[in-house]
Symmetry: C2
Subunit: 212 residues, 2 copies
DNA sequence: TAGATTGTTAATCGATTAACAATC
DNA sequence: TAGATTGTTAATCGATTAACAATC
């Protein structure tokens, strides 16, 4: 078992998919699974599955395979899903509202504790039992509640100054839906970008190239 | 210039970021850019930038660099942004609504032409000038309008049978927000997955591992 | 025990980086 | 021309796949 800091991001990005598949198997009442079966579902190779899992420890048993429930729990623990990290969401427009209402934060290791927007007219609106607060109250709220994560559902221009503020307030991670590339300026914080536009353009490329 | 089919997905996934940065530069009135400048903004190396671009052709000029506007246009063309592909969106819940209203499809090579949901109560609701149609009219609509792309904002269980139907109706690409892993069963279609849960879990890992 | 399947090392493959001649 | 920067080949690095001894 290597130090967690050394695990490549290729491996990390596959862990949630293992986790999802193992959850499905567990729900289906399956008790054991082999690296070959896992790989077929993942669209990879048995070798890769074993290599990936062995980054974190020997969870299997020769001649048997892996215990579904145990492996699911191990991967959940590796991903940190057992530790609920406090998160605030900023920008309650169409996207922010959808994220706040649609995502099951608890099962992914987070707890949504606050919603913010600069629009006065949204203040007081309640989503998922949380009131939307005006952005002017951000400092006070953060000093009191110490959120570890910020979810940015705001335009690029608003994101830039806000990141500075949030990092000063102790925010350590960002789920970034804005086009502001904060990872470049703040290499010390964890950033997970979701760029819809980039994703769509990639799809466009695939369709175009299949036409040729 | 190699055949488009041979370009690795690592390169393709970087193209939208080049495109975004070049658009910013163009808007800022910058006329030329060097591979070194591009790489600093991208967080990569000048070497990688030149390698990436040379997959598609020699767009630069020795001693000068790249013409911003020309390079932007070339990358846009490579990504197929100039050809509007007809898309339908299925599932007008929180997420589907946000996608329909929030995304600028036109500039990414798509044209949203239809919205569908199985919920009778949503039929007739208008989003972005498009009426929500009942899912029972999907076949007829597709035979008349021949959409090339489907955007799946529905649960896994609904997605599975629907994909079969959509592919039979000639849909060639999917922007998939569901947890159904259709790429595995249908390798012939283009699939771009957006898995919020996976993205969040990856962020959870990063935060956890920085704690250790 | 025999069969199955892991954990792990070695081989291969691909992607990134470095170097430099070509040339604007 | 001299300086700058590309296009492209070669070297390096890392990730994936193959192989197989260990062992349940």
């Amino acid at each position: 078992m290597r130090n967690a800091a050394e695990i490549s991001s290729s491996v990390i990005r596959r862990l949630p998919r293992y986790y999802r598949f193992l959850s499905d198997l567990k729900d289906a009442g399956v008790a054991r699974v082999s690296s070959r079966e896992l790989s077929e579902r993942m669209g990879s190779t048995a070798s890769q599955v074993r290599q990936d899992l062995n980054c974190f420890g020997g969870f299997g048993q020769q001649g048997y395979g892996y215990n579904v429930e145990q492996l699911k729990n191990e991967i959940g623990r590796i991903l940190g899903l057992d530790h609920a990290k406090k998160a605030i969401l900023i920008g309650v427009g169409n996207l922010g509202r959808a994220i706040a209402q649609h995502i099951h934060f608890e099962s992914k290791g987070f707890q949504l504790i606050g919603l913010f927007d600069q629009k006065e007219s949204l203040t007081g609106l309640v989503l998922r039992n949380l009131p939307v607060r005006h952005i002017s109250g951000l400092d006070e709220f953060c000093r009191e509640n110490l959120p570890e994560v910020a979810i940015l559902c705001i335009p690029k221009e608003s994101a830039e100054p806000l990141c500075e503020q949030l990092i000063a307030l102790g925010v350590k991670g960002f789920w970034n839906f804005s086009h502001y590339d904060l990872a470049l300026k703040y290499p010390q914080v964890a950033v997970e970008n979701v760029h819809f536009g980039d994703s769509l353009m990639t799809l466009s490329y695939q369709l175009r190239s299949s036409e040729l």
